[in-house]
Amino acid sequence: MKSLTSHYDSLFLHVVTKAIVPLIQIFALYVITHGHYSPGGGFQGGVMMAASILLLRITLGEASYRRFPREAGLAIAGVATLLFCLLGFASVVFGGNFLEYGMAVPGADPVRLRYWGIFWAEVFIGFLVWGALVAIYDALVTGGVE
């Protein structure tokens, strides 16, 4: 705890962190949303998003809790899990199986529906992994006995 909050303060560290974090997040969003076409997907992109937040946590220390509060990690993970569950039940309403995206909207093209179903599943998985990993990190750092 002490070694992480009373961190080594350096102007270079702060400038480089603030320059590199948006790039990591843009690449993470690219990996999440282009799971259809390139290697990657929700899980990998979510891990990258979590890594960018962890970089902020380690470099900025207490100041990073203003940018990404402690409660946000678990809130994002929980909401994303709930939305993923609702996405699965969307097809149950119209007589399909759980997570059978092709039945989610009656009358629409099943192929396009499955395309968008995969897309939203990847997005929800990405946000879930992001929030869960940041929550685990916060629990490890703030929950330890000093």
């Binding site: 070694s3 290697p39 990998q44 750092v141």
Partner: protein, 81 residues
């Protein structure tokens, strides 16, 4: 050619794993373990599984290293055995 690359990658993987077990400084052990994960990602990519390689590079080389360092910052750096 590719089979030979497999062989050398696996040999270096074994070497990294042994070093990570034997080294006394735990910070160095975490660094060697991170290098092990990068080589593992290279091996996965070479075996034709880029998805798994991306996961290994992001999780194994990035996040577990950070988690190990956080755990290490609560304790001494020296290994007991």
């Amino acid at each position: 050619m590719i089979g030979q690359l497999d062989f050398w990658l696996m040999l270096v993987l074994l070497l990294f794993a042994l070093i990570a077990l034997e080294v006394r400084d735990l910070l160095a052990a975490v660094g060697v373990l991170t290098g092990y994960s990068f080589l593992m990602a290279l091996l996965f990519a070479e075996l034709g599984a880029p998805d798994v390689a991306l996961t290994e590079a992001a999780l194994g080389a990035g996040l577990t290293g950070v988690f190990f360092l956080v755990a290490l910052s609560f304790f001494d750096r020296e290994s007991e055995d």
